[in-house]
């Protein structure tokens, strides 16, 4: 008797669970007719502050719309586009990734726009205890350098190019203690004292996390490599109009206020 009841309870429970999962799946998929719309933005990890603000402002003016932002290293985001073939907006930290996406046919070519520039700088601890004045000082003995991985985030690719152009690759590499997959980790390592010097985007220096804890040393234009930040709609978007609206918003006057707030300069002309 008891075993019979238990068996029935067991079977019923399993049936209920399966039915529940099934129904919830149907419910979440059926809400996409005009009321609750979502768009997914793949954005460079360094833009996390910007995309948060863009999300808040865009959702304010578009009731019922949810903006999902996935921040990550540009290489990782490109991998997501490649493998999952979903998302609506692609916003990598360097034009190279956009060029790769165009070549592979992942984005709509006529929607590619340049928003701002990303300027690499040397970040050091407040007061510059290691007395670093230029790229060449990164090769000095006893300086712990942290850089982005050349295959991962945009800053890694840019850093590799800068070091190659200045023939510092060999000497600086000897001082590299860690390579990261996002630019944000570099700021963390610098602030917590795990690294003496990092190469990061200039805008990161304006973040509260770094305020009063880091100093910035500019890299002269002839040694540097400024990268262009592009944005585009992907070919996988399910909601072209909304994706276009978001892109126009991010590149328009309201969006520009947000970019400038976080230390980015709009591309003039």
């Amino acid at each position: 008797m008891n075993t019979k009841q238990l068996a029935i309870i067991g079977i019923v429970t399993i049936v209920i669970i399966i039915a529940g999962v099934y129904v919830s799946g149907i419910l979440t998929n059926s809400g996409s007719n005009g009321q609750n719309q979502t768009i997914t933005v793949l954005a460079g990890a360094g833009f996390v502050k910007v995309t948060n603000d863009l999300k808040i402002e865009f959702e304010k003016t578009h009731p019922g719309v949810t903006v999902n932002v996935k921040n990550g290293g540009s290489g990782e985001l490109f991998g997501i586009l490649e493998t999952q073939k979903s998302a609506d907006i692609f916003l990598p930290a360097d034009y190279k990734y956009m060029q790769d996406a165009i070549n592979n046919g992942y984005v709509q070519n006529n929607t590619v726009k340049n928003i701002t520039q990303n300027i690499p700088v040397i970040g050091v601890q407040m007061g510059n205890p290691k007395n670093i004045t230029s790229l060449y000082d990164l090769a000095k003995p006893g300086v712990k350098v942290a850089i982005g991985d050349p295959k991962g985030p945009a800053i890694g690719k840019t850093t590799a190019d800068i070091l190659n152009n200045t023939n510092l690759n060999k000497t600086v590499q000897a001082n590299v203690v860690v390579k990261t997959t996002t630019v944000n980790q570099l700021l963390t390592y610098l602030v917590t004292g795990q690294a003496d010097a990092v190469i990061i985007w200039q805008d990161l220096a304006t973040w509260p996390e770094g305020q009063g804890k880091i100093d910035v040393i500019q890299i002269p234009a002839n040694e540097s490599k400024v990268s262009t930040v592009p944005i585009a709609e992907t070919v996988y978007t399910q909601n072209n109009n909304l994706a276009k609206e978001f892109e126009d918003f991010a590149t328009g006057p309201q969006g520009m206020i947000i970019w400038e707030k976080w230390g980015f300069k709009p591309i003039s002309g």
């Binding site: 075993t3 019979k4 238990l6 068996a7 067991g10 079977i11 399993i14 990550g72 290293g73 290489g75 990782e76 490109f78 991998g79 490649e82 493998t83 991985d149 295959k151 991962g152 590299v176 203690v177 860690v178 390579k179 990261t180 997959t181 917590t192 004292g193 795990q194």
Partner: protein
């Protein structure tokens, strides 16, 4: 004739086993065998494999050296604050590994322990030494747990008899306790080694997860996923599954169940 309860419960076990099997099997069917072979033979994967095996063996050995006396003390002696010691030793098992990682990063970084270690030229953060340190802290509680149960299963009377026959404490340990605990020690070693091999978050934080420098198999999986090399990422996953299988196989085969 089985009862309905038996049939139900056995069906549930089979259902979940099938689910797990499909889950792990899915790794093997996504990419072609050719891609798997090529990825395994790549310099990066061989480096990660060798680094993982080396660091795990070192870490597991150190864990066992310290866990044996710790577990024996907890099992046999009573001493002040014993309950507290047991709780603190167990905490890391319930803690997310990532918390151990950030705690170690802060401890050995620029603060408490970092300076004295650096004076002796021992660098932990962002080094292969750091991998071993992270693995040690993640695996140690598991080893203590298993060895503690093992010693609890052994009747202290054997040890008393040995002592009353005039054998020293050390001889008793060598002739009675260790041989009786052999299976449990073996099981503890296998679980410890498997934990060390699988450690991810703690290793990522402490050793930095740098390509071809502190790249263990689990880090290789994560890095290649970030780089968009899906083949390499899945292959790293497959290697970890195979290693776990071997570990579990030895565990089931050579360790008697009562000791685990």
């Amino acid at each position: 004739m089985r009862t309905k309860l038996e049939i139900t419960f056995i069906s549930i076990s089979f259902l979940l086993t099938a689910l797990l099997f499909i889950l792990l099997g899915s790794l093997f069917v996504i990419i072609s065998p050719n891609d798997i072979i090529n990825s395994i033979l790549s310099y990066e994967m061989l480096y990660a494999l060798q680094l993982t095996v080396t660091t795990s063996l070192i870490a597991a050995t150190i864990v066992m050296i310290f866990a044996l006396p710790t577990a024996y003390a907890l099992s046999r002696y009573s001493f002040p604050l014993k309950t507290l010691v047991k709780i603190i030793l167990d905490i890391p098992m319930a803690l997310p590994e990532i918390v151990i990682g950030i705690a170690l990063l802060m401890l050995f970084g620029n603060t408490l322990l970092g300076e004295p270690f650096r004076m002796f030229n021992v660098y932990i953060i962002f080094t292969t030494t750091g991998i071993v340190v992270a693995q040690f802290f993640v695996a140690f509680p598991y080893a203590v747990r298993i060895l503690y149960s093992t010693f609890n299963y052994i009747n202290p009377r054997y040890e008393f008899v040995s002592r009353s026959l005039g054998y020293s404490e050390f001889e008793t340990l060598r002739n009675i306790t260790i041989p009786l605990a052999k299976n449990g020690i073996f099981a503890g070693g296998v679980v410890t080694l498997a934990r060390c091999i699988g450690t991810f978050a703690a290793v990522l934080f402490v050793a930095g997860g740098t390509y071809l420098k502190t790249e263990t198999l689990s880090i290789a999986l994560y890095l290649n996923l970030s780089f968009g090399n899906i083949n390499m990422a899945i292959t790293a996953g497959i290697l970890l599954v195979i290693i776990s299988f071997i570990a579990i196989f030895f565990l089931e085969r050579y360790a008697k169940e009562q000791y685990i």
